[in-house]
Symmetry: C2
Subunit: 224 residues, 2 copies
């Protein structure tokens, strides 16, 4: 393996090692990337005036880097603009099923989640900002960035994006059936899994739209 080939797993640290259900955790790069590429919003955690703050926002992955969208002038952006950056935790979660067991205690949720810790820095280089903005647009709708008016200099200057290197990151997954204690198995209650899926409805064109539905939206509509 050459020096430039990334390792197939991220390094484990104390805070990316869960205290419970360690068998649900993984540090595998591919598994983590797949989860990050499947959700629409992340939850960005940071500290403001000594207290935790968690805000939902859009994001995109480019290689081993996350770009997280913010508002210019907002608290996380001001912090990430400092040379020392901003300590953040970025979490992405997908719910795949409700797991019903015969005992209330063993109820669970099937899910996929990624938690990334690190220091976020504001993206200020116009070229990197343009790459990040394309990635943000393509994250939700792959192929879209090639079929829009791209941001001009004024818009890029008004776009606030932070960069977080994926380094201290782990995923956690549950994808199993109901798991009752043996003593409960004969109880007369329904046990099993109710699948939960995110689907796309029929695209609703704006009145100004004069072109047919692009292929990348047909695929999206029929896809995930």
């Amino acid at each position: 393996m050459s020096d430039t080939t990334p390792a197939s797993t991220y390094a484990r640290t104390e805070r990316t090692t869960p205290t419970r259900y360690r068998d649900r955790a993984t540090w595998e790069r591919e598994a983590i990337h797949a989860i990050l590429d499947s959700a629409y919003v992340c939850h960005l955690g940071f500290i403001a005036d000594g207290a935790p703050v968690v805000l939902p926002t859009i994001y995109a992955r480019v290689g081993d880097r996350l770009y997280v969208h913010g508002s210019t002038g907002s608290r996380p952006m001001r912090g990430a603009g400092a040379a020392s950056g901003l300590a953040v935790c970025v979490t992405v979660t997908l719910v795949d099923g409700l797991v019903l067991t015969k005992s209330a205690f063993n109820h669970s949720v099937n899910f996929r989640s990624v938690v990334a810790h690190g220091t976020a820095y504001q993206v200020t280089d116009p070229e990197e900002l343009a790459v990040a903005l394309d990635a943000l647009v393509d994250h939700a709708v792959p192929g879209r960035s090639g079929d829009v008016r791209r941001a001009n200099a004024k818009e890029l200057a008004a776009t606030a994006v932070v960069r977080l290197e994926l380094d201290e990151v782990s995923a956690k997954t549950r994808a199993d059936g109901a798991d009752d204690d043996d003593a409960d198995l004969d109880l007369p209650y329904w046990a099993g899994v109710v699948p939960v899926t995110t689907v796309h409805g029929t695209p609703e064109p704006h009145g100004s739209t004069t072109v047919p539905l692009p292929a990348y939206l047909t695929d999206l509509h029929g896809g995930r």
Copy 2:
């Protein structure tokens, strides 16, 4: 109005007043409760060893109180067990649509989110814990807590739940169409909204299940 009638809005504070898009914010109790009752997982933010941590977990609302599930022995639970409690931020987000505009810059997401700030305390009273566990089970599947074996004393002792009073809380919502600048309206790109919905699949019974599908699961399957 009597003294015991709750106000119809939560009090606004500096940190529940967004720095941008204030017209998307609301402090109305009913609107906030409706969003909290519609999602499956929340993102719990807290500070551990001086750094922000955001973990996904299940939760339930009982009146003006949130119950958030944790693991006994996990970091947030240990902190919330202290007399002074644990400073937290609990955020719930639902994605309703992808908003595509002719300019990359004006792309957006239709969403509903709630951000609650406060101090969380571990629930230790067995009666309150039993109420919280019922609420957690009923949150995802309304009616379920009456059709399971309820937790026994040993299970209650192994259940870690924190309580957060809804006090400093706000919601933010976008539910609009594409909003392009006038100068971009004639560009030959598709603009509009792709609706995003969460749906339930056909319930998959565990091999131990001998009863028919309960009505509360039929409703869920056909419902939201």
